[in-house]
Symmetry: C2
Subunit: 336 residues, 2 copies
C-alpha cells in the first residue's frame, strides 16, 4: 500500500467527553443501564449535567480516538468530523491535531454546540455514556473530500455515524470514493444498541461496502440476531474480508475467509476505565495492517493499544503507543 497520503482516514462524531466517577446509585437515579450509550437532547444534557459530580473534559469520539491511536503508533492519520466554532470545538481541534492527526473539517459557524458525551465511570471500570450529538448533526457529504479519501489506504467509519441522518450520507459517499480508488473500507459497529437502531442498513453495508469489520461479541450477535457467537462468526465470514471481534478480557478473534486467529488480551495492571478499549483495539489493528503485519500481529497490536487506554481515565492514549508497542512486542518475541 505505497504512495498514499494517509494510511488511515477516519470519519466520526466529533465529541468532547465529560468524565465523571459514578456509583451504581447514580446510574439508578438517572435510570441508566450500565455499559450502554444513550442519545440525549440539549435539554436532557443540561438537566443531567446538573446531577453529575465534578468532571474532567477531554476529547473523545469513537473514530477520533482510533485515529489518535493510529497516529500514536506512527502511521499517517486524518480525521473528518464536525465541531462548532466554540470553546469545546477548539479543545477538540487542538487535541486531535496535537496528537498528530490531520483535521481540516470546517467548524459549524452556528447551530448546536460541539457534541458532548457524559461518561460515567463506575468502580468496576465500566463506562455508561450519554451523548448529546450537537454539531455532529451538521456533518454532511460536502465535508468528505474525495481526493483525501482516494489518497488514504483505509477509510475507517464508526457505526455511530448512522445516528445523525446527514452524516450517514457522508459515510456512504466516503465508502464509495474509497472503493472507486481501489482502497479499503473499515467499519466499527460501535454499540449493540446502535446495531439495533441500524441493523438492516449495517447488513447492507457489510454486503456492499465493508472490507474490515470491528465489533465486540455483543455487537456481532446483535447484528445477526443470535445468542451464539460461533454462529455469528460463521455468518460474518461471508460478509467481509476481515472481521476482528473483541472479547474483553479474553482478547480477540480475527476471521478471514477460512482462517481464524485468536489472540489473548494484553496483560495490564489495574483496569481503571474501559472507555475507548474498542476504539484503540481498532487503532492497533489498523496500524498493524498498514505496517504489513499478519493478522495475529495486528490483533496483538490492537490488544496493546487497548491495554494502555483502559489503564487510565479517558479514551485517548496517554503514552506514546509506538514506544509501548516496541517494548511489548519485543518482550513477546523473546518470550514466545
Amino acid at each position: 500500500m505505497a504512495d498514499s497520503l494517509y494510511h488511515v482516514a477516519g470519519i466520526g462524531n466529533a465529541i468532547v467527553d465529560v468524565l465523571v466517577h459514578a456509583d451504581d446509585g447514580l446510574l439508578h437515579t438517572l435510570g441508566l443501564a450500565k455499559g450502554v450509550m444513550t442519545l440525549i437532547d440539549s435539554g436532557e444534557a443540561e438537566r443531567i449535567y446538573g446531577l453529575l459530580p465534578p468532571g474532567v473534559e477531554c476529547s473523545g469520539g469513537s473514530a477520533a480516538n482510533t485515529l489518535a491511536g493510529v497516529a500514536s503508533l506512527g502511521a499517517r492519520a486524518a480525521y473528518v468530523g464536525k465541531v462548532k466554532g466554540d470553546q469545546l470545538g477548539e479543545v477538540f481541534r487542538h487535541d486531535i491535531r496535537s496528537a498528530g492527526v490531520a483535521f481540516d473539517t470546517p467548524a459549524a459557524p452556528d447551530g448546536p454546540s460541539t457534541a458532548r458525551c457524559f461518561v460515567l465511570v463506575t468502580p468496576d471500570a465500566q463506562r455508561t455514556m450519554l451523548t448529546y450529538l450537537g454539531a455532529c448533526v451538521e456533518l454532511a457529504p460536502d465535508d468528505v473530500d474525495p481526493a483525501m479519501i482516494a489518497a488514504s489506504d483505509i477509510t475507517y467509519l464508526e457505526g455511530y455515524l448512522y445516528d445523525p441522518p446527514l452524516a450517514k450520507q457522508a459515510f456512504l459517499k466516503a465508502a464509495d470514493c474509497a472503493h472507486k480508488a481501489g482502497r479499503q473500507v473499515a467499519l466499527s459497529l460501535s454499540d449493540p444498541f446502535c446495531v439495533d437502531r441500524h441493523r438492516a442498513a449495517f447488513l447492507d453495508l457489510l454486503a456492499d461496502h465493508v472490507d474490515i469489520l470491528f465489533a465486540n461479541e455483543a455487537e456481532l450477535t446483535a447484528l445477526y440476531r443470535t445468542a451464539d457467537v460461533d454462529e455469528a462468526l460463521r455468518q460474518v465470514r461471508g460478509h467481509c474480508r476481515i472481521a476482528a471481534i473483541t472479547r474483553g478480557a479474553q482478547g480477540s478473534v480475527v476471521v478471514n475467509g477460512d482462517t481464524a486467529v485468536s489472540v489473548g488480551a494484553d496483560r495490564v495492571g489495574q483496569v481503571v476505565d474501559t472507555t475507548g478499549a474498542g476504539d484503540l483495539y481498532a487503532a492497533g489493528f489498523l496500524a498493524g495492517l498498514v505496517q504489513g503485519r499478519d493478522l495475529a500481529g495486528c490483533a496483538l497490536l490492537g490488544g496493546i493499544a487497548a491495554g494502555e487506554v483502559i489503564s487510565h481515565m479517558g479514551a485517548r492514549p496517554e503514552r506514546p503507543l509506538a514506544e509501548l508497542a516496541r517494548t511489548k512486542l519485543g518482550q513477546f518475541n523473546s518470550n514466545p
Copy 2:
C-alpha cells in the same frame, strides 16, 4: 464559631486548567522556568496552546481548589470568582457547585473569555503554569456581598487576586467586611513571583488585615527578602495570629505567638502532580480550624488533603476527603 452561614468563604481567580504532560525539552522550547506561574495574554495563550500536546480540562483556580477541599471535608463553603457566560464558564460553575460549594457570582456577559491556565506537568511531578486571566479581570467590589462575608467564619483570599486590579479592591472590601463582623481573614501568598510583584501591599495586608497566613518557604522568604527561613518565621510571628508554612515533602510548620508546631507530610504512594498541594493544605487546615482542632490537628488534616491531591493529575480532590481523613486520623490516633 457558631451561627455562621458558611465556615469558609473564598475569593479567587476562577480558572479552568488545561493539564498537559510535558518534558523538560518543552519547557525549554517555551522559555519557561520550572515551577513558576507566568501571566500571559490572549495572543500568547493561543500561540502556546498550539505548541502543547493534547490536554485534559478541569476546573482549577487556587482558592476555588481550596474551597472544593473544604466542602469535601464536610465544612460549609462558598466561593466568589468571575467566569464568562461561555462553555468553560459553565464547566467551572458546574464543577464547583457539584463539589458542594455555594457559587453565585454572576458570569460576565461579554468581554474576555473564562480564564485558562496551562499546567505543564513534568515527569518529576512538578507543575509549571501559564495563566490567561480572561474574565477574572472583571471581578469587582460589587461581586462581594457584605452579608455573605459577615456570615462566614473565615474569609479566605488568594494572593493571585492582586494581579487583576479591580479584584484587589474586591479583596480589600471583603477583608474589611469580615473584620467589621468580627470574623477572621486568611491569605495565601500563592507564588514567590506573585509575592515579588505585590510585596509591599502584602506586607501592609499582613499588618492590618490578615489573621491566618498560608505560604510555602519560597513565598515566605520572598516576602521578607531573606534566604533564611528561620529569620522569615521569626518576622512573620509578629505579623499575624497564625502562619502555616508548608515545606513540601518535609510537611509543615505552624507558628502562633510564641509556639511553633511541626508536622510531617502525609505518606503517599507515587507523587503524580503537585498542582494544588498548597491549595489543599489550606483546605485541610481551615476545615480543621472550623472543626475546633488544635494547630497540630489542623496541620495534619492539611497534609492529608494535600497528599490526596498530589497522588493524581489535577488540583481538585478525586476522593471524598472527609472519609479519607477519618481513616487516616484513625490510623494516626491508634499509632501514636
